[in-house]
Each structure stands twice: as structure tokens, then as C-alpha cells.
Symmetry: C2
Subunit: 413 residues, 2 copies
């Protein structure tokens, strides 16, 4: 359906720039760009279809209120949720925040308002991205596993659009182009759209950083990476998943390709991370084993009637695979037990420090999970820089759980 016009560089490049540290008000502003040579990279077009777990998708269509959510709630919740996203030519993505409440809105550059914001149609369970503005969502396949539910997003046409839109200014087709194409290619090679699954943004970004490191590419920051990936895998939605108080932002509607090397790495590392977990944490995932209607164990996807057990388990593991994250692997630190506070330091300060330390540990675990061992030192430097000697005073953070004392030592000892 898509012609194979490749992202043939000249004249259309994304202007995502190499991350220059120009944040201070220093007026010099040197733009140091690595002169990667102009390799015109053929953007691969077809994504293989395999191991597609039928996460059920549904849509609701009202007269002038359309909810195109993968996760329709069946309640009287004031429904600000919606999370519509326009399928327009690129730039305007509607995130959770800012989407309207209860009534329409959303809109692309072609004024689709009259139709209710998003046009819909159902084809045989396949999720197609026509390049224009319509958005097709396949309905749920309720048979046994491994059906083809999605795939083949990010056709070259789409990418072309993405590039054009991201760029939006004309004649600058320099080294940025190839640099970007490389990023695009990597993303296309390793990820694919898939309904019902989500990836933590940090995981995805860490993968990206690792990729950049390996290939000596300048990474863009997380925000720009967000723009990039949304321009490729259109229709990504935002979710915040995780335990209470530890929610992390996820890209919902994307997963690691089953044949991606990232997949293998992640699995290995997951196993390692699993082994580190105290028993209590492991049981966290157990209740999801008792299979019932809901396929992926998450709120989302409303009523699902005829799923098989096998299917559910697969979807589950799929979900876990992408979902397991440092924030979950780490045990909760529990309360701090301190006899006497030395100075004017309040209990809040202690908790703050604990929180920071936990974040640090999560970061460490995260890079380890992603095999980015070289980043460990950087993380340590970042965390401890402002405390060359000891953390502020003599108080040590003692954790109530026995196994988890001085957690990162497991990794560095």
C-alpha cells in the first residue's frame, strides 16, 4: 500500500540537533556537531509480523464525542481521559495533558473537527497508518494466540511526513540528515507499534542512549527523543504506570520487536534483576497469574470476553517483559530509623535524601539492566558530586528490609 519512497535525505531532514550544552547564559554558544559523513541510509520499510498478541482494542463513537482509547473505562468517570491524538502530519501531538474534557476538541491541520476529531474505520484486525489523517484501529481478535493484530506502522511515507514535519524548514540537508536517519533506522529495526503493551520511556531512552554510545552518535535529550519517536510511531499514548508513588511515564502502543537484540538483553537482565528481588517483591507479579478476563493485567482494556489462558499468559509475559523496570525491581526502602537528628535537619530532609538515593539506585539498576556499564560511573559522579565526603552528617540510612541494605553494592562489590 505504501510506495517505497525512502527517506532519501536531500531536502528533508529532521532538525533534531545534537545536544549542545548551551543552557547557561553564556553568549558564545558553540554548536559542535560531529561531522558524520553523508551516508544516505535506506529506510527500511516492511516490518515483520510475528508474535502479535491480540490486545483487544475498541473504540467508541458518539455523535460528536469520540473516544479512541485503547482503554475505555466503563464508568461514570468524568472522562477527561480520552487521550486523543491527532494523526496529522506530525507536529501536533496531543498528550494527556491538555486534551479536552468531556467534549471533542483535537484537530489536525486539515480541520477534521466536524467529523468528531478522529475518523475511524475497522479493517480486519490490522492497524494501518494511512498517511493522511485517518486512524484505523483494528478490533479485537478473540481467538487463540499469535494473530496479526497490528504491525506495519511507520511506513516510509509516514517517515517522510515525520521528517518533513519535524523539519518544517527547508533547505538544510546536512550531516544532521544522516545522523537522524541512523536514529530512525535503529528505531524501526527495534521497535514496532503494538496495542496493549507499553514501554517505560526511560527504558526506551536508555536503549537509545546505549545505541548512540555504541555508534558514536550524539544523542538528543529525552524531550527531543520523544518528538522523534512520536513522529515515527504515531499514535503513541501516554501512560503512567507503576506502583503508587512510583509511577513512570510509558509510551503506550509500542514494544520491542521480538527479534530485536534489545529483547534478548532485556530478558537476561530481567532475570538477573529478578534474582535480586526479595521474595515479597516477586510476589507482586503473582496475582496476575490468576487469569481472568483482563488480558494484560492493567486497567485499560475493558471487557474482554473470550480470551484463552494461553493468550493471557503470553500477553502477560509480553507485558512484563517490556514493563519490568528498575522502579519495580527495587524493593521499597521502608522507613528510616534514626535515633536523633543532629542539626536543624528535619525528618523531611531524611526522607528527601532517601528518595534521592532511591532514584539513584534505580538509575544504577536501570543502566545495569541495559548493560550500559559505562554509565555507572557517570551516575555515581552525578549523585555524589555534591557530597565528596559523607552524606551531610553521620546519619546512615537503614532499611527495614533485610536483604536490601546497601543495595548498589551488589553491583559494584
Amino acid at each position: 500500500m505504501q510506495t517505497s519512497e525512502t527517506g532519501s535525505d536531500t531536502g528533508s531532514t529532521v532538525t533534531l540537533q545534537t545536544s549542545v550544552a548551551s543552557q547557561a547564559a553564556v553568549p558564545t554558544q558553540v554548536v559542535q556537531q560531529v561531522p558524520v559523513q553523508q551516508q544516505v541510509q535506506q529506510v527500511q520499510t516492511v516490518q515483520q509480523v510475528q508474535h502479535v498478541y491480540p490486545a483487544q482494542v475498541q473504540y467508541v463513537e458518539g455523535s460528536d464525542t469520540v473516544y479512541t482509547n485503547g482503554a475505555i473505562r466503563t464508568t461514570t468517570y468524568p472522562y477527561t481521559e480520552t487521550q486523543m491524538y491527532s494523526q496529522n502530519t506530525g507536529g501536533n501531538y496531543f498528550d494527556t495533558q491538555g486534551s479536552s474534557a468531556q467534549v471533542t476538541t483535537v484537530v489536525s491541520s486539515h480541520s477534521m473537527v466536524g467529523t468528531g476529531g478522529i475518523q475511524m474505520g475497522v479493517t480486519g484486525g490490522q492497524l494501518i497508518s494511512s498517511s493522511g489523517g485517518t486512524y484505523l484501529i483494528g478490533n479485537s481478535m478473540e481467538n487463540s494466540g499469535h494473530s496479526v493484530t497490528h504491525t506495519t506502522r511507520a511506513s516510509p511515507a509516514t517517515i517522510e511526513m515525520a521528517i518533513e514535519t519535524l523539519q518544517k524548514s527547508d533547505g538544510l540537508s546536512t550531516h544532521r540528515s544522516s545522523l537522524l536517519n541512523s536514529h530512525l533506522q535503529w528505531l524501526l529495526d527495534n521497535y514496532e507499534t503494538a496495542e496493549g503493551v507499553s514501554l517505560p520511556r526511560s527504558t526506551l531512552y536508555n536503549h537509545y542512549l546505549r545505541h548512540c554510545q555504541e555508534h558514536k552518535l550524539d544523542p538528543v535529550n529525552a524531550a527531543s527523543f520523544g518528538k522523534l519517536i512520536r513522529s515515527i510511531f504515531m499514535g503513541l499514548r501516554t501512560r503512567r504506570l507503576g506502583t503508587r508513588g512510583n509511577s513512570k511515564y510509558h509510551y503506550y502502543g509500542i514494544r520491542v520487536k521480538p527479534d530485536s537484540p534489545l529483547n534478548r538483553l532485556q530478558e537476561d537482565m530481567q532475570y538477573m534483576a529478578m534474582r535480586q528481588q526479595p521474595m515479597q517483591q516477586k510476589q507482586r507479579y503473582k496475582p496476575m497469574q490468576k487469569v481472568d478476563g483482563v488480558a494484560d493485567g492493567f486497567t485499560g482494556s475493558g471487557q474482554q470476553t473470550g480470551t484463552s489462558v494461553e493468550q493471557t499468559v503470553i500477553a502477560q509475559s509480553q507485558h512484563h517483559q517490556q514493563f519490568l523496570d528498575a522502579s519495580r525491581a527495587l524493593p521499597e526502602f521502608g522507613e528510616v530509623e534514626i535515633s536523633s537528628l543532629p542539626d536543624g535537619t528535619t525528618f523531611e530532609d531524611i526522607k528527601s535524601l532517601q528518595s534521592l538515593y532511591r532514584e539513584h539506585c534505580e538509575a544504577i539498576l536501570d543502566v545495569v539492566v541495559n548493560l550500559q556499564f559505562s554509565l555507572i560511573e557517570k551516575l555515581w559522579q552525578t549523585f555524589w558530586r555534591y557530597s565528596p565526603s559523607t552524606p551531610t552528617d553521620g546519619t546512615t540510612i537503614t532499611e527495614s528490609r533485610s536483604e536490601s541494605t546497601s543495595f548498589p553494592i551488589h553491583f559494584h562489590g
Copy 2:
């Protein structure tokens, strides 16, 4: 014009809660609320009109694209800007981020979409808040100063709505009510809507914190405060003003009431802050003296034809008054001159430290400007906590500007 129905507490309270530090994953979650007694606080209704500086206001009305911006650009900029805001009963505020691109959207719970999102009308230069949903913008008065351009937002009816909407759940009219009423009252007493001026959010929030401190009230956090103030002064827009790289978020469309004590404090402190500034910085504000078309010295407000000099100067001072902020008062620190870096510390690290330090200084200056001297110690603790001895190593940050070395010492010496 408004009936004097007071926010008489029972049955309608805002559920903004006292800020409990439940951020860690500690499961206890004690909600400690100060049992302020149920003083039914009469919400004052009429705001005095005085010293209204005619910041010029304008509106543009298209067929189905309405730009109700205080700052219409006259260009071909893709105009995602718009910054529409719904005037609905409360909760749904449309910030810069997320508002549609180029085509309508925006929407309240009463489906005003057909009208183009925001209805407009012009009355004789007065900005009126009818409690329903329409938003009236006065046009610019092009005569001498002190005309009545705005005022009298936040009528009791509006507040009632705000309360109802913020609350949205019914029967909990407890101590929260009076606590909130106190906040409301304070906000109503000290601020008013005004077109063409803006306040840094930090300033406003600091004022609020100070207020809470003085009255032994539990402050809400900045986000919740944002909800609160937007529910009262509807139509606030978001701006990010400041020098490049130092932009701060502002509430645009609000100012300190001319008779507010905050005003006096701020002026005094500004003077002090001004005196601290090296000469070069003071000149920063000078170019605005050369009066030309633009009234308030900011981008925004497009074509203004017949303003008098007096008017401009007044608007200018008005603007400065609200706008002068620590981020501007502080001189730029300039480049760091370091002979040798000791460890693996990179130049980026130094710049990072410098940036942090500057933020620290700005914070200090900010609290001093707002006479919150008791917060200074807290700030210091916060900043130096992770560095009990010296900042990381022997390197000292030398600033290129002569007067500004060790800036905060002026305040603590």
C-alpha cells in the same frame, strides 16, 4: 452587578489539601490537617478600582479561528500559540501546551465549540466577568492614564463556581473549607486580573507561602496553587518570560492590586535589589525607556497606535513592578576561568555547578525581595546540604564581572 452571595462554606469547599509529605512509598499516609476552626469567612466581593494602567488589550476574531491572545503576532508563524482558555465552570484550563494548532478546539462542558471557542464582546473598556462562560475583553483606552481597563474579576459567583468545580465531590465541608476560604480571601485581596501584565509564578507562589507562614496555614504545593489561582482568576494564560535561557513561567493576566501590601513590599525590595545590581545590569531596563509603539516592552501586544508617552511609562513601570525578579536582578555570572580540572570533572560539571549556584542565588534574592528572611536558612540548607565542606574540590567559581563576586554575601554579611 454581582450579587453578594458569599462563599458561605457549608456544602461547597475546594478539596485542595494541605501538603502532606506522602511522596515516598510509605504506606501510612497520615493526613495531618490543622484544625482551624470553622470560621465562615465572608468572601469580599467588590474589588476597588484604582490605578489601573491601561495595558492595551486587543482581540482578533476570525471566522472559525479565534485568537484571544493578549499578544497577537502579526506574522506567518504557524500559530500554534493561540493560548485559548476555556471559560467554563472551572476545572478545565487549557494551557499553552496542548491547545490545538491552527484550528479551533477548546471546549467547555457546555459545548461552546460552535461559537469558535470563546465568545467575545466589547464593552467600554472594562473587563467584566460574567459568571457564565463568556469572556469580555476591553479594548485599549488610548487616552491618559488611570482609566479603568479591567478589574472585578473573581466575583463571588465565580468563586462559588470555582469551589464547586474544584471540589466536584459533595458532602465534605470540613475544616478544609475555612482553610481554603482564607486562601481565596487572600488572593482576592491582593491580586486582580489585568490585561497586559504578568507575574512570575514563583513570585506569586512565594507571596503565597509567606502569607501561609504568617497565618500558620498549610500551603499547598505549586501545582495545586496553580489550580487554585486559575480557578479564581479565570483566563490566566501562560508565558515564559525572561532572558534567553532564564525564562520563567508567568501568569499572564494578573497583577498585584495597587493597594496591596505586597505591592509596597515588592517596591521597597526592588529598590534594594536595584541598588545591588551592577551598572551594566541596570541598563538592561533602559532600552525600554525609549518609548515607541509597544506599550509594555514585551513582544506580545502587537500594534498599538496612539499611546501617550505617559501611558507607556506607566505601563512599563507597572510591568516592571510585577516583573522584576531574581532571575533578572542577578547579573550574569559569566564564564568560569579555571586553570586545571582536578579529577574527571569536566567543564560541563563546572557549568552545572555554576548553574545550580545561580539558581540558589536567585532563590535567595527572591525570598529577600519578598521579605521572607526566615526562608534564607532553609535555602542555604537545601543548597549546601549535599556539600558540607567545600563544593566538590578546590576550584572556585570566579566571575568575570567585578562587582558581582560572591553575590549573596551582600545579603548575609
